[in-house]
C-alpha cells in the first residue's frame, strides 16, 4: 500500500455522506471531483475518466488485468477504492507510452512475442514496470514469481521471461 493513504478526516466524510471529495493525479493530470465513496479505483479510471486501457478481469484481485501504479507501486485497482488513492499519483497504461511510441519494456514484450490476445497486457506492463524499478536484473524465478498475480490464459509467461531478460541483459 502506498504511503499516502487516506487521512482520518476524509474517512469521516466518507462515512456520513456516501460521497468522497477526490483529489488525484492520473498520468500527470490532476482531477478534483466528488465520487461515490464505494467507487472502485478501476471503475473510476475506466468509467469516469474513460481510461479503458486498464482492464477488469475478475473484480476479486485474482487476475491482475487491472494493475496500475499508485505512487509507483503496482496495485490491483479492483482491490482499491478511488477514495483510497486520493492524494496519490496514479499511472495507467495510457501514461506509459505517448503518441504510439512504445517504451523499451513494451518493445521487448512485442519483440519476444509476449502479447497474444492482449487483455492481460496493460496490467502485465505495469507489474513489470514496478519489478524493474526495484530490481533491474531479476532472475527467471524472480520474474515468474513477481507476475504470479497476472493471469495470462494465452500462455505468454515464457516469452515474458525472455522479454525481460533480453531487456535487462542489454545496456540501455
Amino acid at each position: 500500500m502506498p504511503s499516502k493513504s487516506p487521512v482520518s478526516t476524509k474517512e469521516a466524510e466518507l462515512a456520513t455522506t456516501g460521497e468522497f471529495s477526490l483529489s488525484i493525479k492520473v498520468n500527470g493530470h490532476p482531477h478534483e471531483t466528488v465520487v461515490p465513496s464505494d467507487l472502485l479505483l478501476v471503475d473510476y479510471l475506466r468509467d469516469t475518466l474513460s481510461l479503458t486501457g486498464t482492464k477488469s478481469g475478475c473484480d476479486t484481485g485474482q487476475c491482475g488485468a487491472c494493475v496500475v501504479l499508485v505512487d509507483g507501486v503496482s496495485v490491483k485497482s479492483c482491490t482499491m477504492l478511488a477514495a483510497q488513492a486520493s492524494g496519490c499519483q496514479v499511472t495507467t497504461i495510457e501514461g506509459v507510452s505517448h503518441g504510439g511510441v512504445l517504451n523499451a519494456l513494451q518493445k521487448s514484450l512485442s519483440e519476444k512475442h509476449a502479447v497474444q490476445c492482449g487483455y492481460c497486457t496493460p496490467g502485465l506492463v505495469l507489474s513489470l514496470t514496478d519489478l524493474l524499478s526495484r530490481n533491474p536484473h531479476p532472475s527467471e524465478s524472480e520474474i515468474r514469481g513477481w507476475i504470479d498475480g497476472n493471469i495470462c490464459r494465452c500462455g505468454v509467461y515464457q516469452n515474458v521471461v525472455r522479454a525481460v531478460e533480453s531487456l535487462t541483459a542489454e545496456p540501455h
Binding site: G53, V115, Q116, C117, G145, D148, R153, Y157
Partner: protein
C-alpha cells in the same frame, strides 16, 4: 523480393495497440446514452418457476425496465443448435432446428441449470442494474437434479425435456462394433480402463460482453460482441431467432480478450440485447462478471470413457472399443454436441494403425451449464484415452512404451491413411517426431535419474504423449455430412489500390493468434509489397460476404490459404495487364519482386502500383479485361489437415505430499509449413499451458444439488507462471498437400499431448507401487491417495 517475409519471425503488427492500452475490447465501448443490463440467474439447478416478482426491483433507483421470459417469448425463437448427427438436410431449415431441447433466451417456466437466465434488468448504471437484480424474488419449486450423463440415462430418471425421452439427446457411433468385439475376443492381451475427464472452464481473462443498438429511423440493428463467429451470429439471429432482415443487422467484433473456444456460439445475450435495445429505445450494454462466466459460458471436456484395447504379445494393437458418456448440460449449445461426437469420436485411434476401432457416445441432458469445445477440443479427450491405454498395454506385455508406439504408429509410406473412424491423415513422420522428443528428454538416462531423485524424497517418472489432431476445419461438404450447418471455407477479399496500398478483408476473426501479421506476411511475400502497405480488415459483417471466423485450427490453413489464393489471382491479372502495358506477350513476362518484368530485361517492368493505377483509372486496359484490381476468393479445402507430434514430460512426485512437479517438458510438433515461427511457438506455449491446467489442477465441480462449486479464480485455479517449467519446443516440417502453402493448423494442435504425457509420467513414477491410473486433475491429494492405495 530480396528478403523472405513469409516464414520470418517478425513481431506482430497487433501489438502496439494492445501494449499501449488503445486497443478497444467490447467492455471498453459505451455508445452515447447507453443503458446497462444485468442478468438474474437461476440459483436452482432444476426447478419449476412458479413466479418472478419484479415489483420491488422495478421501483429501485435508475431502473428503466425489467424483462422476464414472458416479456420476450413472443419476440424471439429459441437459440440454435446447428448440429444434427444424421447430416444436414438443408441449409435453410425450419427452426427450432438441430438437436431437440433448444434453449430460450430467458426461461419461462422451468430452470435446468444453475445460472440459467431468468430476467434482465435495464438500468442507468451497471451498479443500479445489479442492485435491482438482487431485489427480484423468484418462487422456485425444486425438482430432482440430474448430476451426470449416466445419472440422467438410468431408467426412471426424471425427464428434463418432454421432447427428449430418457434424456438421451443423441447416440452417435463410428466403426464396426461386431468386428471389433470379435477382434477383442481373439486377442492375446486385453486392457480395460475407465477414464473420467472432468469439465474444464476456458476462463478467458475477458468475460463475454455485448453492446446492442437499434436505430428507429433506419430500422437497423448494430451489435458489438466478443464472438468468434460474427457472420454466424448475424445469420442465426436474423434468419432463425429474431426474424429480422439480414441487411438490417451489422455485427462488429472489437478485440477479444481470449476465447479458447468459449466465444464461438450464439448465446442468449446477442439476440436478447437487440430486442431490449429496440424495446427501451436506447443502446444497451451487458458485461459478464467473473462469477457469472462459469454460469453463462459453455464448459468443455466432461467425458466418462470406458475403453478396451486389444493386441498381441508382439506389441501390435488389434482393436479399440470405446463407450463414452457425455453430459451436454441442460440444453444443446450451438455446436457443442459435435465435439464428443466427431472430434473425440473420430480421433481415438491417435497416431496408430488400429485395424478394428469402434467408438460410441451417449449424449445426455443433465442439470449443468451447456457443454462446448475448448482448445484441443475433443482431441485432448481422445489422446488421453489412447495414450493411457497404450501405456497400460505396454505394461501388460512388458514392452518399452516408446517401442510399442513405434510398432503401431502410422508409417510415412502409409499416407494418406484412413484411420477406420472417418479421418484420412494427410502426411507425417510420427516416429521421427517421437524419437526426437525422447532424445531431447533424455529418455535413455531416466533409470539413473529415478535413482538419484529417490535420494531426495522424489519419485521421478517420464511420460509420452503422442498425438494426431484434426486441423483446418474444414471441407464444407464433409462438414455438412458430419451434421454441421453452414459453409466452412475460407474467404478473402484482396484489393490493390491505385496507390499500391493493399486491403485484405478476411473471414477469420482473430482473438490473439496474430492473423493480421501472418496474413500480411502471405501477401507481402506473394505480391512483393512491404508489410506496411498492407492492411488486414476483419470482424465486421459490413461489406463482407458470409464467412466463418476462427476456431478448429482453421485460420492460417483455410482463411490464410484463401488469402494466398487471392494473391495468385491478383498476380494473374497483373501479368495480363502488365504485359499489355509493356507491349509484350504474357508468356514473355514474369511477376517477381512486386513487378511485372520482361524476361531477360528487368529494366522493362511495371510495378504492381503502376498496374493497379492503370486498372483503377482506366487509362489503358487490354480488351476483355475489367477495370479494378481486386478479387474475392473462396478456398474450400478438399479435406482437413492433420498436425501431429510427441511430447515428453518428466515429473517428480513428492513422496510425502503427492505434489507433482513437471521438471522437464519437451515438445516436438509438426504443423507443416509455418508463416511466422514466433507466432506458432506462442500458440504452442498457450496450447501446452492450456493442457497443464486440466492435467494438474483444473476441474469443474458440481455438488449433489447441482450447485456450481468452482466459480471464480479462487475455487477454480488456473496455471500461473511460477508453476510451470520452460517448455522446450522443436518442430519437424511435413507439408500438407491440402493447401498450396503446405500449412497445417496450429491453434489447438499441441494441447492434446499434454495431459497424457503428464499422467503417463506420474503413473510411471508410481508404477512400483502398483498404481496403474489416476484420473485428471492430478492434485496432490489424489496422487497421495493413489500412493497409499486409498
Amino acid at each position: 523480393m530480396a528478403t523472405q517475409v513469409f516464414g520470418a519471425p517478425i513481431p506482430r503488427r497487433e501489438d502496439a495497440a494492445l501494449l499501449s492500452g488503445t486497443g478497444k475490447f467490447t467492455a471498453d465501448l459505451h455508445p452515447a446514452n447507453a443503458a446497462h443490463v444485468a442478468i438474474l440467474h437461476s440459483t436452482e439447478a432444476h426447478a419449476r418457476i412458479k413466479g418472478i416478482d419484479t415489483s420491488a426491483a422495478a421501483a429501485m433507483p435508475g431502473v428503466i425496465r425489467i424483462f422476464t421470459g414472458a416479456d420476450v417469448v413472443n419476440k424471439m425463437m429459441p437459440l440454435v443448435c446447428i448440429f444434427k448427427p444424421a447430416g444436414v438436410e438443408t441449409h435453410f431449415p425450419p427452426h427450432p432446428y438441430g438437436l431437440p431441447g433448444a434453449q430460450t433466451a430467458l426461461a419461462t417456466d422451468r430452470a435446468r441449470y444453475v445460472g440459467e437466465w431468468l430476467a434482465a434488468v435495464v438500468a442507468e448504471t451497471r451498479q443500479q442494474a445489479y442492485d435491482a437484480v438482487a431485489a427480484i424474488r423468484v418462487d422456485y419449486e425444486p425438482l430432482p437434479v440430474l448430476t451426470s450423463a449416466e445419472d440422467a440415462l438410468r431408467p426412471g430418471a426424471p425427464q428434463l425435456h418432454d421432447s427428449v425421452p430418457g434424456n438421451l439427446c443423441a447416440h452417435v457411433s463410428h466403426g464396426d462394433k461386431a468386428a471389433v468385439d470379435e477382434a477383442i475376443a481373439k486377442a492375446e492381451v486385453v486392457v480395460k480402463q475407465k477414464l473420467r475427464i472432468p469439465r474444464q472452464l476456458h476462463q478467458a481473462n475477458e468475460t463475454r460482453a455485448t453492446v446492442a443498438q437499434y436505430d428507429e429511423d433506419t430500422q437497423e440493428y448494430t451489435l458489438w460482441t466478443n464472438t468468434q463467429i460474427p457472420h454466424g451470429n448475424r445469420f442465426m439471429i436474423c434468419n432463425l431467432v429474431l426474424g429480422i432482415p439480414y441487411n438490417k443487422l451489422r455485427v462488429l467484433v472489437p478485440n477479444i480478450g481470449g476465447s479458447y473456444g468459449s466465444k464461438g456460439y450464439l448465446y442468449q445475450d446477442a439476440p436478447l440485447l437487440l430486442v431490449i435495445a429496440k424495446e427501451v429505445g436506447r443502446p444497451v450494454k451487458w458485461v459478464d462478471t467473473r462469477e457469472g462466466l462459469p454460469r453463462t459460458t459453455v464448459h468443455a471436456r466432461g467425458q466418462v470413457q470406458y475403453a478396451t484395447l486389444a493386441g498381441n504379445r508382439d506389441g501390435k494393437i488389434t482393436a479399440l472399443s470405446v463407450t463414452n458418456y457425455v453430459d451436454l448440460g441442460g440444453y444443446p449449445a450451438t455446436n457443442g454436441p459435435a465435439t464428443p461426437s466427431i472430434l473425440t469420436g473420430r480421433s481415438v485411434t491417435g497416431a496408430y494403425v488400429i485395424p478394428h476401432p469402434f467408438y460410441e457416445v451417449y449424449l445426455a441432458f443433465a442439470n449443468s451449464v451447456m457443454l462446448g469445445p475448448a482448445r484441443g477440443a475433443g482431441r485432448m479427450e481422445a489422446m488421453l484415452l489412447i495414450e493411457r491405454l497404450v501405456d497400460l498395454f505396454a505394461g501388460e506385455i512388458g514392452m518399452d512404451r516408446a517401442e510399442v508406439r513405434r510398432k503401431n504408429m502410422v508409417q510415412p509410406d502409409q499416407f494418406p491413411f484412413e484411420n477406420g473412424l472417418g479421418w484420412t491423415y494427410d502426411s507425417g513422420n510420427y516416429v521421427a517426431a517421437l524419437d526426437r522428443a525422447l532424445e531431447m528428454a533424455g529418455y535413455k538416462e531416466i533409470a539413473q535419474r529415478k535413482a538419484e531423485a529417490r535420494k531426495r524424497g522424489k519419485r521421478l517418472g517420464v511420460g509420452i504423449g503422442s498425438y494426431v489432431t484434426i486441423g483446418g476445419v474444414g471441407p464444407s461438404s464433409r462438414m455438412g455430412r458430419e451434421g454441421l450447418i453452414g459453409s466452412v471455407w475460407g474467404t478473402a477479399i484482396l484489393r490493390v489500390h491505385q496507390t499500391g496500398d493493399i486491403t485484405v478483408i478476411t473471414g477469420c476473426q482473430p482473438h490473439g493468434q496474430g492473423q493480421v501479421t501472418t496474413f500480411s506476411q502471405i501477401v507481402a511475400q506473394e505480391l512483393g509489397v512491404p508489410i506496411e502497405k498492407i492492411e488486414i480488415l476483419h470482424s465486421d459483417t459490413l461489406g463482407m460476404p458470409y464467412a466463418q471466423g476462427s476456431y478448429g485450427s482453421r485460420s492460417f490453413s483455410v482463411e490464410g490459404a484463401a488469402v494466398y489464393e487471392a494473391a495468385q489471382h491478383i498476380k494473374e491479372k497483373a501479368i495480363k495487364v502488365g504485359a499489355h502495358l509493356l507491349k509484350a506477350e504474357e508468356k514473355d513476362v514474369t511477376f517477381a519482386d512486386g513487378k511485372v518484368q520482361v524476361n531477360g530485361d528487368a529494366a522493362q517492368a511495371k510495378t504492381l502500383q503502376e498496374i493497379a493505377s492503370a486498372l483503377w483509372f482506366d487509362w489503358d486496359i487490354p480488351p476483355g479485361v475489367q477495370p479494378g484490381l481486386e478479387v474475392t476468393t473462396y478456398f474450400d479445402p478438399t479435406d482437413f489437415n492433420f498436425p501431429f507430434g510427441s511430447h515428453v514430460a518428466v515429473v517428480e512426485v513428492d513422496e510425502e505430499t503427492g505434489a507433482v512437479e513437471v521438471v522437464k517438458y519437451v515438445c516436438v510438433d509438426d504443423v507443416g509449413v509455418v508463416g511466422n515461427p514466433m507466432v506458432v511457438e506462442g500458440q504452442m506455449h498457450g496450447s501446452v499451458a492450456f493442457g497443464f491446467g486440466p492435467a494438474l489442477m483444473e476441474e469443474v465441480i458440481y455438488d449433489q444439488k447441482g450447485q456450481l462449486v468452482t466459480h471464480n479464480f479462487d475455487t477454480y485455479p488456473v496455471p500461473r507462471p511460477s508453476g510451470m517449467p520452460n517448455f522446450e519446443l522443436e518442430r519437424t516440417v511435413t507439408p500438407t498437400p491440402i493447401n498450396k502453402m503446405g500449412a497445417k493448423g496450429a491453434g489447438d494442435v499441441s494441447n492434446p499431448a499434454v495431459a497424457p504425457a503428464i499422467v503417463n509420467a506420474v503413473c510411471d513414477a508410481l508404477s512400483d507401487l502398483g498404481v496403474k491410473h489416476i484420473d485428471i486433475p492430478l492434485t496432490p491429494e489424489k496422487v497421495w491417495r493413489a500412493m497409499q492405495g486409498k
